[in-house]
Assembly symmetry: C2
């Protein structure tokens, strides 16, 4: 397809976005200023929203289709941790003036791909121009049985702290994307870069969350997000870094570092893992126990039988990151 120099808002909607709403009655063909969501008896609509900004949450060199998919996935990750079934989404897109229409096509292609993967449709949104960097917001909707959303504030003293998947690949992937990790082969750097660019929201784990007391996704960093559960639940937390689940690449990276405690702390405070961290009385399949919620407050991080001193905030996007 040959693209014009720039598309205005209506052309963008006609060419790129209307196909993404096809078959969604809620979206009214994107020909209206609003979407209409029919209520579902005995279900709650779960709503989560996150924005990503070029230069803050993704790199100017990240391909536009990957950025689109990351935008959906960071929001799907929040839904997954709440036990919600993905339903549909809204977009708030601020394009830099003179933005490349080819990149906009690629962006829409990325959305289309992940819509199929996750069974969601575009319900509405708005698009405008900005004198600043590409700024992308998504508001994601999902459904849960009434009153059954997995909350952040439900952990109980004595609960196991558990995390899904592996931790740290995205932190290493950012370094790989920004120039490469010394001593790693090209394929290793490329694989890690991919892990940073395209997180995998754990919507597959929603059914496993039925019995957990609390959960959150790991976006700010494992220690920070586990800490959010503890704080919201009025509890303290013990984390054992020796039990941190690592991918083979992350394990290889840790083995190459002079100080394992420092290395593991970096991975446990890095962000963008998009795994699920939860509190549960009993072990949950597909989750690794890495600590325990305790009465009191504060976070105790242990490694090799010793307490470490770790800034509890971990990685924060934007101001601190």
């Amino acid at each position: 397809m040959s693209a014009p120099d720039a598309w205005d808002e209506f052309e963008l909607i006609d060419r790129l976005f209307r196909p993404l709403a096809e078959g969604a009655l809620e979206a009214l063909d994107l020909r209206d200023d609003a979407a209409a969501i029919p209520s579902r008896p005995d279900q709650d609509l779960i709503v989560t929203t996150d924005s990503i900004v070029e230069g803050v949450h993704f790199l100017p060199t990240d391909p536009a289709d990957m950025v689109a998919r990351k935008l959906l996935r960071v929001n799907l990750s929040d839904l997954a941790a709440k036990g919600a079934k993905p339903y549909g989404y809204f977009l708030n897109l601020c394009w830099p003036q003179g933005h490349n229409p080819i990149a906009q096509e690629l962006f829409a292609a990325g959305l289309a791909k992940d819509q199929r993967t996750f069974g969601i449709k575009l319900f509405g949104g708005d698009t405008t121009s900005t004198p600043g960097p590409l700024t992308l917001g998504a508001t994601m909707l999902g459904w849960v049985p009434s009153g059954r959303m997995v909350r952040r504030d439900g952990a109980r003293a004595g609960d196991l702290l558990m995390v899904s998947g592996t931790i740290g690949d995205a932190t290493l992937g950012l370094e790989a994307a920004q120039g490469g990790i010394a001593g790693f082969a090209l394929w290793q750097n490329e694989l890690l870069t991919h892990r940073y660019r395209l997180p995998t929201p754990r919507v597959d784990l929603s059914p496993s969350l039925g019995g957990v007391h609390a959960a959150a996704d790991v976006s700010d960093g494992l220690i920070a997000d586990a800490g959010h559960i503890a704080t919201a639940s009025g509890l303290g937390l013990e984390i054992d870094l020796d039990r941190l689940p690592l991918s083979p690449l992350a394990a290889e990276w840790v083995a190459r570092q002079s100080d394992a405690a420092v290395a593991l702390t970096r991975l446990a405070t890095g962000g963008d893992d998009y795994e699920i961290v939860c509190a549960s009385a009993a072990k949950v399949p597909q989750f690794t126990p890495i600590g325990r919620f305790v009465s009191g407050s504060g976070i105790r991080v242990r490694h090799g039988g010793h307490d470490l001193s770790v800034g509890r905030k971990g990685f924060r996007h934007g101001k601190d990151g």
Copy 2:
């Protein structure tokens, strides 16, 4: 209150935003990553979203509380035109690095004021930093009886085209804010500036929309938004600029211009009026008839018994604006 140099995301939420969610069970005290909206039998949830960018949709000199209220009001205006009752909202806030915390307090104060005015609460959102300009998104929720949302595509040939309130003050207000309108007194410039900065969404008119066939709010410009109804409905449109409802100030401004047709066209293609334009078989109280929907396509704009040649797009934010 003395403010620190800068607040991080969690301090912002604790100090400024949690009070805005007080009493809204949906918001879970803003301590979670998502909100839970209980379904309402026999009602549809209406969702609309709009972003505003400093330098595009508001001026760097606009006070932060007014910007906050404008953000809510442009979204409430969409709800009003759909006949929906305002319910609650989500925010996507991208603050420029080093943003003034006093301005953030003022922003929250503006939200609080309009929450009371319109009976809405904050349900959730996210806040991040940006290397670009202040970028603010809101997603507004409202309720209508099932299947009763007033759509854009329901106009019928022969319907009256009607608009609420008056048209053009915001267009003049932008000029007033940017240096003043020549020949107008200070109080006149200040009053028009206020009309630009703080639109009044016509939520009061929702009950009047029960019998109309189609409606939209006037954000892109009267001719453009009336044209959107016509296009979505597969119809043409005739507009008579002699019938354009004007405020006393706008009427005075038109009277001072050498060419009334050019002046009226400017007001009818300017944006940000946030009145409601609708299609209805019969006159609706509080609306002024200004034309008619006809079979066919295209927009015929008339003044003094003559056809005018008017660019149909009117004012568009961003790329064209």
